[in-house]
Structure formats: structure tokens, C-alpha cells
Subunit: 235 residues, 2 copies
Amino acid sequence: MPEVNPSAIRAVLFDTFGTVVDWRSGIAAAVRETGLAVDPLAFADAWRARYQPSMEPIRSGVRAYVPLDRLHRENLAATLTEFGVDLPDPELERLNSGWERLPPWPDSVPGVERLRQRYIVGPLSNANTALLLRMAKHTGLSWDVIIGSDLTQAYKPRPEAYVKTAELLRLQPGEVLLAAAHNADLHAARAAGLATAFVARPTEHGPHQQLDLSPAEDWDVACDDIEQLAGALGC
Amino acid sequence: MPEVNPSAIRAVLFDTFGTVVDWRSGIAAAVRETGLAVDPLAFADAWRARYQPSMEPIRSGVRAYVPLDRLHRENLAATLTEFGVDLPDPELERLNSGWERLPPWPDSVPGVERLRQRYIVGPLSNANTALLLRMAKHTGLSWDVIIGSDLTQAYKPRPEAYVKTAELLRLQPGEVLLAAAHNADLHAARAAGLATAFVARPTEHGPHQQLDLSPAEDWDVACDDIEQLAGALGC
């Protein structure tokens, strides 16, 4: 595995859902709060299963960009129908905002804090800025800067999502490292010229996870958590 | 003076040049470093004097938006000519990046830290995101979010600069408070629906400052520094 040269890296940016925060536990907890007669984890999985497909028409240009907040809301309505349950509007909005109250993995806050001593640190997520901001305030994460998908108007893995983020930070793609628990995200980031770090999150999808258990390519860094990533990057 | 209701405010955003950082001392120091045979403070004043006029064609729609980095660079070239001096390119770029290395006022970092316990805190500046990010890293300021003028594509006091910033944060204008040392900025912010706080910076322009020594209107808060502002807002 090639060693990344930390001196070439200026910014370390993170995929968030799954990599920094545990969406499955967090959404299940938000579902539980509603009192809906559903299996909270199954509901969380079903809601999340609509995430990638809902971005496809936007990636392909069939639909204009709308923020992830809105896609989450549309996907929630569909998931409620799928489970044959209903929620009045204020509770539906409250549940939709569950994506802003996801718990960080135990290493996320201290790891990000260490990385900030040396690098520009922020998310590089499909979430919009307002969502990422509220998530950070809730978890106690301190980012240096938040470039949400609403600012690039592009959903990963579209190359613009990576390249425009680097541009807004006035950096070359090679000065930016993407840290993610998802090989497909890293693949697209590398194709756009970014450095890459795989952070293993083997229980993101629960105890029987099959995907993304290990690095699928020779990413610049491969590690088990964000504290380890900080160490690998000289922090 | 009316008391602002802290419970209505979700975000406290700051004008930066003059309000959070001391541009005059910082730019004079950067000029001194170049070894140019000029009075550093006079050069800083002359460079800054071109700041407002250089945004006018963009505000009025005669010129498309360009980031403040570039206006600073154009204004620097004109100021060098005005002083009859010259700088080779790498040193000129280094001097231009002096705007990223401005010292904070003594109360800025601790005051912002206190406000972050209760509010979303960030800049609302004419600077672009990349400049504000580097300034924050240099000063040790921690913002929750940075919405530079490149993201709204508008220069204050255009109403879009205030309103689009609130929109990107998914807030109503009345949920945002602008803190600034400049009455004209606060006037425009109030017209756009924001709450307002005057922070006195009586030496921003040096010992003989005439303008903005005191609040010109009944702003929601008037205070002498950012620590006092934090106290007035219940932090």
C-alpha cells in the first residue's frame, strides 16, 4: 500500500453518514421515539435503502438539484407507505430531522480534533450544509469548514462533488484527502485526483454487513478508525 | 435600547475585517515584511481605501462577481503604483495573502468560543470562503460554518448577502444576528430582517478614527467587545 505524503495534503475531508456518524442506530432511535408500530432497525434500513436511488435522477441530470433534506423527506413518506403506517406532519418533520441527531462513532470527535491541529478538516458529504451544521452542533464535532452538496450542487460520486469542493477551498484535488468507509466513494475521489483513506466501519449496516468490510483498492491510507487516521497522517 | 430576545436567535454571524480581526495592524505587518520603502500603516490605509469602491461595480451589476481575493490583488497592484513601488510576483502574492494572517482582537477568540456553546457562530463577511477559512486557521478561531461571499455571490450591503446566508443555514432572517463594528452594515442587515449588535472598535482605523465610534441607531445590542456580546446574549 503506498504511503500518502502528509506534507502534500492540506485538507482532510470526511464522508459523514457511516464514516463519522452511526446513521443506523441514530435513525432507529428517532423511529423508536415516534412510537410507530414498526421494527426501528428495519425501518432505518428501508429508509436508507432509498437514499442512493433517490439521488440518481439528479446525478444523471433528469432532475434539478434539490437538497438532501428534501430527498430524505420524500424517501420517508415512501417508507411510511411501504410499512403501512402514517405520521402527522410535525412528527414527520421531527423524524426527518433525525439525520441531524446521529451519534458519532466513539473515535470521530477526538480524531477530528487531532487532525485539525495540522489540516483543514471538514465533511465531504451528500448532505446539505444546514444538515451538516446541525449534525456537527449536536455531536460536538468541530469542522473548520462545511461545503455541503448544496454548495457544489452535485451528489457524489459525480466528479464535480469532489472537484468543486477543492475549488471552493482554493486547493488542488491532490491537496485534499477523502476519508470514507465506502470503496465506491474513494474510487470516485481518486478518479477526481484526491488522495484517499479507507476507514473501516464494519457495523455500519449492522452485525451482518457484507459490503465495505475491507479496502477494495490500494488506497493511500487504510485504517480502523479516525484516531488511527490521525496517527497515519502525522497528528 | 430594545433588548434582543436571545431565544429567538439561532445564529450569531460576524463581520470580520475590523470587527473580529485587526486588518490595519495585520496588513501593516505584512507590508513591513516585504521591505518596501513605504510607510506600512499609510500603505495599509491606502490599500484598504480601495476596498469599498472595488466592490461597487459588482454590487451594481456592472461586473460579474469575483472573489475578494482577486479584488484585493487588483487593489494591491493599484496601491503599489500609487506609492511608486513594485514587487515581483511571488512576493506580491505573499503580501496579498496577508489578509489571511490578520491578528484577532484580544476578545475575539474567547468571545466566539463562548457564543458557540449556545448559537451557530460564523462570519458574514465580504471575504470568500477560502480566505475566511485560512484566517480562522491562522487566528485559532473556530467557526461552526463559513458562508463566504462566493457562496451567496453577493457583496454586503446588498440584501442578498444577508438573506441568502440565512437561507443556506435554513434559518429565517430574524433568527440571525449580525455583529459588526460598522453602522452601515448593521443598517443593511436590519433592513434585511436580521437582528443587530454593534461591537465598538474605536481603533480599527488607528488612533484618530472618526467613523463608527458609537451606535448610530438603536441596535438590538451595543457592546464594547465580543466577550461582552456573549454576556448580553446569555452565554
